[in-house]
Structure formats: structure tokens, C-alpha cells
């Protein structure tokens, strides 16, 4: 859920809405916000599976708990990777697969 009014953070920056695809579904977010933030806004908290469901933990690019597949590239830290229009984002299974890499 987006914060609409905040008692301290008064400046609301104009943001551009963009569309992206998550697991085949079209979702909306703001351009330039972290992918994980846009997913949270859409109620998505499970970002990958490594035998068990995993979400993000540190939100500042430290811990690698939030690795997802973005535009076919695995192991992207979506807590710091910025959302762009038309991105294709998928949950990652395990270590993920490199494009053209070994199965």
C-alpha cells in the first residue's frame, strides 16, 4: 500500500506509472522505484523459491535474499534494481538459469 499522506515526508515527487509483467501478469508500478517496492505495492511478497518461499530482507542490496529473474537475467537484487517500463520479472527457482547456460 502506498503512503498517501505522511506527517514528516511532505514532498511528493511526481512519478511516472509504468507497466511490467510479473509471472505472466501485467502489473503497474512507478518508474525508477525498486522492483521489490513495486511488487509489494501489488501484494507480492514471495520473490523466489529456494526449496522454500523467500522474500526480501535488507532492502539495500546487502543480503541477496531477493534475487529474481529480470528480463531473463537471473540473480538480480530487486530491492535495488529500478523498475522500467515493460520489464519481465519472474520468480527465481534456486540458483536461476543463465541465458544460454547449462541446464
Amino acid at each position: 500500500m502506498r503512503i498517501k499522506k505522511h506527517p514528516v515526508l511532505s514532498s511528493i515527487v511526481e512519478k511516472t506509472e509504468v507497466e511490467f509483467i510479473f509471472e505472466g501478469k501485467m502489473l503497474k508500478g512507478y518508474e525508477g522505484e525498486p522492483i521489490a517496492a513495486a511488487l509489494h505495492e501489488n501484494g507480492v511478497r514471495v520473490l523466489r523459491h529456494d526449496h522454500r518461499p523467500r522474500g526480501f530482507f535488507c532492502a539495500i542490496g546487502n543480503c541477496s535474499s531477493c534475487l529474481m529473474e529480470v528480463n531473463g537475467e537471473p540473480n538480480v537484487r530487486v530491492c535495488v534494481e529500478e523498475l522500467r517500463d515493460g520489464m519481465v520479472i519472474n520468480m527465481q527457482e534456486g540458483k536461476g538459469k543463465l541465458k544460454g547456460g547449462e541446464e
Partner: protein, 163 residues
């Protein structure tokens, strides 16, 4: 107990109050700041020099009640939101309290709100007398309320009806 729950006891708060004569004279500040931490904006902000100079920045602030006028400059600057202004001379049955308030929405002037104690429990009604939200307060707004005399030592927050 205080360091286990974050809840100051009545004795601790009563010990902060100025003399009976001073309380009968009008508004005064109290600092519910009971722990030595490195912090001194209450002292540097006070134009009347009513907060005694800190020998060490970790000192617990002390108010010189001959100088304090209850102007409330300290209320919005205190990073711990521990400064309040009390005026026991407000009326025969009510005491005025100024408190820091960093939430939205702000209460409406002349509205009745819940008077909350240090645990956030409603213990009566408060009337909103004034709401200051000018720029110099930098979002630590000051809400002035009046509450029945019997509960003024306990009221430290207000609760608005949820919409």
C-alpha cells in the same frame, strides 16, 4: 520498572514539577527525560536560558523555573518528544497541556478528542484549544489541549476517532 517498560511512574513525574508557588503562576515546561543520553537541543533552543547549561552533553536537563515561561520552543525541538508545557491556571477545573504531535490528521480546533495516558489508554476527554503546524516546527506540530485537573499528570497523547 521504567527501563523495563518505558513507562515513567507517577513519582518520577511528580518529582519533575516545579514548586507549588510556581505552578500557581502559570505555564511551565516539564521534561520527561530521565536517562543520560548525549543530547542538548532543549538547552540550545531556549532563548530565555531557562534550561541550565550542560556541563556534559549527557546531563539530564534541569529547568530554572524562575526563567521558564512555558513558551514551548523546547516542545518541538526535543528529538525524544519528551517536553510538555503545562498550565494549571487555565481554569478552575481544567489544566492546559501543550504536546508534540507528529501524526496525521491533525485534530480540529475546538473538537473533543480522547485524552490518552503514557500507555496510550483513554482516560478521559480533552478539548483541542490550538494546533500549531507552522514551518519552523518542521513537522513536530504542537497541539494544545485542556483536560480535567484530576488527570493532567497522566495525559500525554490524544486519540482521534478513526474515520
Amino acid at each position: 520498572m521504567f527501563n523495563k517498560t518505558g513507562l515513567a511512574s507517577n513519582d518520577m513525574v511528580e518529582a519533575l514539577l516545579p514548586s507549588k508557588e510556581r505552578r500557581e503562576k502559570g505555564a511551565y515546561a516539564i521534561f520527561e527525560c530521565f536517562q543520560e543520553i548525549p543530547c542538548n537541543p532543549c538547552s540550545t533552543v531556549c532563548k530565555l536560558k531557562a534550561v541550565k547549561d550542560f556541563e556534559n552533553i549527557n546531563n539530564i536537563p534541569e529547568i530554572n523555573y524562575d526563567k521558564c515561561t512555558g513558551c514551548a520552543m523546547c516542545v518541538s525541538i526535543c528529538p525524544g518528544l519528551s517536553c510538555f508545557v503545562i498550565d494549571e491556571t487555565y481554569s478552575d477545573s481544567e489544566v492546559m497541556i501543550k504536546m508534540p504531535y507528529e501524526f496525521l490528521p491533525l485534530p480540529e480546533i475546538n473538537s473533543n478528542v480522547k485524552a490518552l495516558d503514557r500507555e496510550g489508554k483513554a482516560i478521559g476527554e480533552a478539548k483541542v484549544l490550538k494546533v500549531q503546524d507552522n514551518k519552523t516546527l518542521d513537522h513536530t506540530n504542537i497541539v494544545t489541549i485542556s483536560v480535567p485537573k484530576e488527570i493532567f499528570l497522566d495525559v500525554r497523547n490524544i486519540g482521534l476517532e478513526e474515520k
